[in-house]
């Protein structure tokens, strides 16, 4: 295995409180030292990265890989390559596959394919109910044994609150984190955009703010009642974040995330019926967006994720309500998050914490830090290497992005996974 000396970069490890220009040493796939080489260490390769940032590989709490079942949209191989090129070294794949991830066999299939590809660590989330049907508990103990890092029902409804309560209690029994997508299905109804001034004008069925807050309030009560460890996914409203913050202040150990596009887009962006902006939860108001940005800055939101949902072109080629929701987000995760730094809302180390130590804590993972002894998952990026997003040049098979033509400054130049180079922008591997 390659022995690395990464030199002259600005090393930022939010978990260790490190932010200084120094050297990083890697051997046997692990971080072995910072600052000074261990005794007897000789590097096979020296990577000089002056002016660049060296940070832990990014952890993305949600990236749909579309395999098995939706290979016409993407594959584990195609999306793993996109993740590696984006500095992401660990990602959670949600169970929205076909078959859904509700048996160890599907977990094994995904894990084997991902290992064969080898560009990113894939951590499956299991289904909370069989087939995501919302009616019968999944075999959570078996899913955990097979490698699931949590269980979730995504946006598939569980209409029977008693069942949701039992699902939480059962997950708690096996020390599994429940990933909750707060969305009250009756209140969402057939809605496809935020219920507000734009939905009123466009005559589209809206998804009201209360579809999130009612679900968050109900879930918080059930979390306290069952004692389950819970994580709120994709919060989209100021009020929803407020409820989570209040519960945390009361001592309830819940975590929460937001997806990167929610920090930059609002309901106004769908005014032109552009299906690229069709996402769930929907883009909300500017006030909501500002609250989400503030919550990322102050740590109320532990993680920013891509909520990557690659689609084939046809999935977006219809009147907006008939299109499939979602954005191909892997390649904009880092640049969209770091825009909060440019906007003066948060320092670079704290912004990186939401992509590394924050999601690592949600997963109870050892990844997300450059501490000696840990796996050498490293992201190296140039903070000032302007580029424009051209959908045709995305690595992901999904070209569905609303950020076409946007200019970004940070660019990932190298990604190391377990000490091996899995992405290098400027050199041949």
């Amino acid at each position: 295995m390659t022995r690395w000396r990464i030199t002259a970069g600005r090393v930022i490890d939010p978990a260790g409180g490190i932010d200084r220009v120094t050297d990083l040493f890697i051997a046997d796939g692990r971080i072995v030292a910072l600052d000074n080489a261990p005794e007897g260490f000789t590097a096979d390769r020296v990577l000089e990265v002056p002016g660049q940032v060296v940070c832990p590989g990014l952890i993305d709490l949600s990236a749909s890989l579309r395999e098995p079942g939706f290979e016409h949209k993407a594959s584990i191989a195609s999306e793993a390559a996109a993740a590696a090129a984006s500095g992401i070294t660990t990602l959670c794949c949600p169970p929205d596959t076909d078959p859904v991830i509700d048996t160890p066999a599907v977990v094994d299939l995904i894990s084997h394919r991902a290992e064969a590809v080898g560009l990113v660590r894939v951590r499956p989330l299991g289904a909370l109910t069989q087939g995501l049907g919302g009616e019968r508990l999944s075999e959570m103990a078996a899913l955990k044994a097979a490698g699931c890092v949590g269980v979730t029902n995504l946006l598939w409804p569980i209409r029977d609150t008693q069942l949701l309560r039992h699902a939480m209690a059962y997950a708690a029994t096996f020390d599994l984190t429940v990933f909750l997508h707060p969305d009250e299905p009756w209140l969402r109804g057939a809605g496809c955009i935020h219920e507000g001034q734009v939905s009123a004008r466009l005559g589209m069925t809206g998804i009201p703010e209360v579809s999130e807050t009612v679900a968050v309030a109900r879930d918080l009560a059930l979390i306290a009642h069952t004692g389950v460890r819970a994580h709120f996914c994709r919060l989209s409203t100021a009020a929803g974040v407020g409820l989570v913050a209040a519960a945390r202040a009361d001592g309830l150990p819940v975590t929460a995330d937001v997806c990167a596009h929610q920090l930059h887009l609002t309901e106004i962006d769908v005014s032109d019926f552009d299906s690229a902006f069709h996402v769930l939860p929907p883009l909300r108001t500017q006030r909501d967006r500002d609250a989400l940005r503030a919550a990322v800055a102050d740590g109320t939101l532990d993680a920013v994720c891509s909520d990557h949902q690659p689609h084939e072109a046809e999935a977006k080629l219809a009147p907006l309500p008939e299109t499939e929701p979602g954005i191909s987000g892997l390649e904009t995760l880092l640049p969209l998050t770091l825009r909060l730094v440019d906007d003066g809302l948060v320092g670079l180390p704290d912004a990186l914490a939401r992509l590394t130590s924050g999601p690592a804590a949600v997963l109870g993972s050892e990844a997300g830090t450059l501490q000696p002894g840990r796996a050498a998952d490293v992201c190296i990026f140039d903070p000032d290497r302007p580029w424009h997003l051209d959908p045709a040049r995305l690595r992901s098979r999904g070209r569905n992005t609303p950020f076409a033509g946007w200019g970004f400054a940070p660019r990932v130049t190298h990604t190391l996974l377990g000490g091996e180079l899995v992405h290098a922008m400027d050199e041949k591997r």
């Binding site: 001034q197 009123a200 004008r201 589209m204 069925t205 019926f273 009147p319």
Partner: protein
């Protein structure tokens, strides 16, 4: 928003998708053009040779009799060939996508699509993806817009009232689901009426409706007080299933228009309805057939307005083709 899609740099109509985004001058031009066509129907030969050799496709993904018929008559009076397609019962049920349907019709050398679709934004989608030589007219998309209906209503108001600026207009009924109401509100505000009011229970009003430029009333008598124009909206049967309204009966009691409610309105107030009417729900027969009613004039004016819009959009493309 849709201005760039439906209007070219010189201000000519390329498509007619939405009243929103058009100027007062453009709305007046549509009405003036309609005025010039209004007499055609009274002649013994009800045709002008303006669109000879052109093919207009009525592409209806939703059932409609009145709108489709008046579009068909309008196109035929302009001497165009007309093809009626009720896609709701053919292609899409066989799994063909809207885009594939469009491509097939373009391959048959259609010059114009008149589109009605159940989803908001469908006409915009068609306009965005249609071949450059094809004009698109929105004949109703979801709950979003029904701009030709709104323009025929404006045309009717202008013919009866003359001026827009002194008018108070009240719109009664299911605003939430009404593409007609949304287009009317934009048109009335663009034409500069004094006040637009909406009258409905909260369950039939979109949240933030006041941002469309209307005053909200929940009481019918207060809402029509001193109004010059009262527009009643059709209440779709599926709204009467008890989820938004308890019953047809209670709706008529509170929001059904009768002579008794109209005592507070202006003595010369007119009553409109886009049709088809549910008698005894939105208004009673006495009002629908009474002296204030201009409901049948609306239907007649629908042909002239649609002739105007078809010819203007076709002209916009003719200019483009020669340029």
């Amino acid at each position: 928003m849709s201005a760039s899609l439906q209007v070219d740099a010189a201000g000519r109509l390329r498509h007619f998708l939405d009243v929103e985004g058009l100027s007062r001058q453009q709305l007046i031009e549509i009405m003036d053009t309609a005025e010039s066509f209004a007499g055609v129907g009274d002649r013994s030969v009800k045709k002008v040779p303006l669109l000879r050799g052109k093919t207009v496709v009525n592409l209806f993904f939703e059932a409609s009799t009145r709108t489709r018929t008046t579009f068909e008559l309008a196109a035929k009076r302009l001497s165009a060939d007309v093809l009626n397609l009720n896609v709701s019962t053919s292609a899409t049920t066989k799994g063909e996508s809207l885009l594939d349907t469009l491509r097939n019709l373009e391959a048959m050398q259609a010059d114009m699509f008149v589109v009605r679709h159940g989803e908001s934004g469908a006409a915009h989608f068609v306009a965005r993806h249609a071949a450059p030589h094809v004009g698109v007219i929105n004949a109703g998309d979801g709950c979003h817009a029904h701009p030709t209906q709104a323009m025929l209503d404006m045309f009717t108001i202008r013919r009866v009232k003359g001026e827009f600026t002194p008018l108070t207009v009240a719109i009664v009924g299911d605003i939430l689901h009404s593409r007609v109401a949304r287009s009317q509100i934009h048109a009335l505000n663009t034409l500069g009426v004094r006040e637009v009011r909406v009258i409905a229970p909260q369950t039939l009003l979109p949240p933030h409706v006041e941002q469309l430029g209307v005053k909200v009333h929940h009481d019918l008598v207060a809402g029509v007080r001193d109004a010059d124009v009262i527009i009643t909206l059709r209440l779709q049967r599926e709204r009467m299933d008890g989820r938004l309204l308890p019953s047809k009966h209670e709706y008529f009691q509170r929001y059904g228009l009768t002579e008794a409610h109209l005592t507070g309105a202006r003595p010369d107030a007119i009553v409109m309805h886009p049709g088809p009417i549910n008698r005894g729900v939105e208004l009673d027969s006495g009002t629908a057939d009474g002296p204030r009613s201009v409901i049948l004039q609306q239907v007649t004016h629908g042909i002239a307005i649609r002739m105007a819009v078809i010819s203007m959009v076709m002209a916009g493309h003719a200019v483009e083709a020669t340029a």
